[in-house]
Amino acid sequence: MVALVPSLLRQELANLAEQDQRIDGRGQFESRQITLETNCLYNAEGSAKVTWGDTIIYAGVKFEMRTPWPDRPAEGSLMCSAELRPIAGRKYEPGPPSPESIELSRVVDRGIRESNCIDMSKLCIIPGEKVLGVMIDIHVLSDCGNIFDACALAAIAALRTAMIPAERFDIGEDYPLPISMTPTMSSFTRVGGRYVLDANEEEELGGDERVHITLGDEGHLHSLQKGLRGTLTPAEFAEILEVAQSRCAELAELVNSKEA
């Protein structure tokens, strides 16, 4: 396995980058094949399955009736949690959430929250007393690289198909979650000295830092994150941001095409 010889892998990735090639034959800013299925889980109020290359992610949306946060008495709440359970790969261990899974949850959460795609005031039932909480749980079943983008895609796709089970909460007829935007994420990893879009497992293993960019409908930035050791220049950021603009628009289109 290449995992045993990361320095050889790094050398190989550097050689390939010099010739403008990638280890699986893709172009620098070419993504792997993506398939998206929605409403695929019984019992979840909204759900999505993303197959991104060999990476497989499920997301499910649940609602709960709760008391509002004291500083926002007339707004519902959002919680996004990504679980890196040991099913996801050989390297994952059981135990409390790892720093990696907390980072993943929070980066995905921020992208959705900060885009204000969900109108939280519409989730208020009785101000100060009862609001709806939206809970998105993301389950990584197979990690073969770039789980960030796949998780963000699964989360927004599940939200966009979610129905509020109003009948169960005794507040009228079921209705779709009021959601108006489709924030999506594009992630770049430094591999062999240059940034590539959608790194696979080997590229992550033999690569350096990564940058996650979440863009909303107008191409506005809603969440950024740099992870792992390494630095980038403003010029490099400008280049990947431009790629992210067109890539995120394509992903949003894919999500919107699935809506009922």
Binding site: N43, K62, E83, R85, L141, S142, R168
Partner: protein, 245 residues
């Protein structure tokens, strides 16, 4: 078991609420090898239940104190996804999932040829993505297919099935309403070729005659599900040959 016949579960024509006969199981679909990151994997849809299982290993067993000098240990984690039930489940292990994981591991250790891999560990990760009664059985059925897909030698497959009692009548494969309002539930892990029982739990109230009928139904269903398991593995094998993996 929940109620005592306050909800009608058997229709006047003798069929169950979903139209099944008393000895008819829900529809079962199985796919093998669906998770590229795993050494072996399976997806099982049983009625509205969905279970996914990944197998990793055999690998070095650590920490060292869990090693067995003469055999492999099987480390099973049965987990229900937060969105798998009508009320969200808080993530993490609870007493129920720990117990199910333990008895599932012991059932699998009785079919896997664990003595072939001393001092090693085989990880079996069962995730329930959608739950509608009988998830421990669906998990067991999935685990057997995932182990076979990983190429781990076993002396037989293992099939999870359950029978129970509703309104005084023995029925095969309880659905959610029958599980909630029925009078007994008897989940079993059966070795379909030999008819041995590797997993056994029960709760509720059954007479000896009723137990025997449950057993007969379970044995019959085990043979049916076994055929579906084998078919899934065959399709996976053909794919592998064709795909040149």
């Amino acid at each position: 078991m929940g109620g005592y016949g306050d909800i009608q579960l058997l229709r006047d024509d003798g069929l169950r609420l979903d139209g099944r006969k008393v000895d008819e199981m829900r529809e079962v679909e199985i796919e093998a090898g669906i998770l590229p990151a795993a050494d072996g994997s399976a997806w099982v849809k049983h009625g509205l239940n969905i279970a996914v299982c990944a197998v990793y290993g055999p690998m070095e067993a650590h920490p060292r104190k869990i090693q067995r000098q003469d055999r492999a240990v099987i480390d099973v984690r049965y987990n229900m996804a937060p969105f798998s039930t009508s009320d969200r489940i808080r993530p993490g292990f609870n007493r129920r999932s720990r117990e199910i994981s333990k008895v599932t591991a012991e059932a699998l250790e009785s079919v896997v040829l664990v003595e072939r891999y001393p001092r090693s560990k085989i990880r079996v990760e069962i995730e329930i993505l959608a739950a509608e009664a009988g998830t421990r059985c669906v998990g067991l059925t999935a685990a057997a297919v995932a182990l076979a897909d990983a190429g781990i030698p076993m002396r037989d497959m293992i099939v999870g099935v359950a029978a129970g009692k509703i309104e005084g009548t023995v029925v095969l494969d309880l659905d959610k309403a029958e599980d909630n309002y029925g009078q007994a539930d008897l989940p079993m892990g059966i070795l379909p070729t030999t008819g041995e029982i590797a997993f056994l739990q029960m709760d509720g109230d059954l007479s000896v005659e009723e137990f025997n009928t449950c057993l007969e139904y379970n044995m019959k269903a085990a043979k049916e599900i076994h055929a579906i398991q084998i078919d899934a593995l065959k399709r996976r094998y053909e794919q592998k040959m064709g795909g040149g993996v």
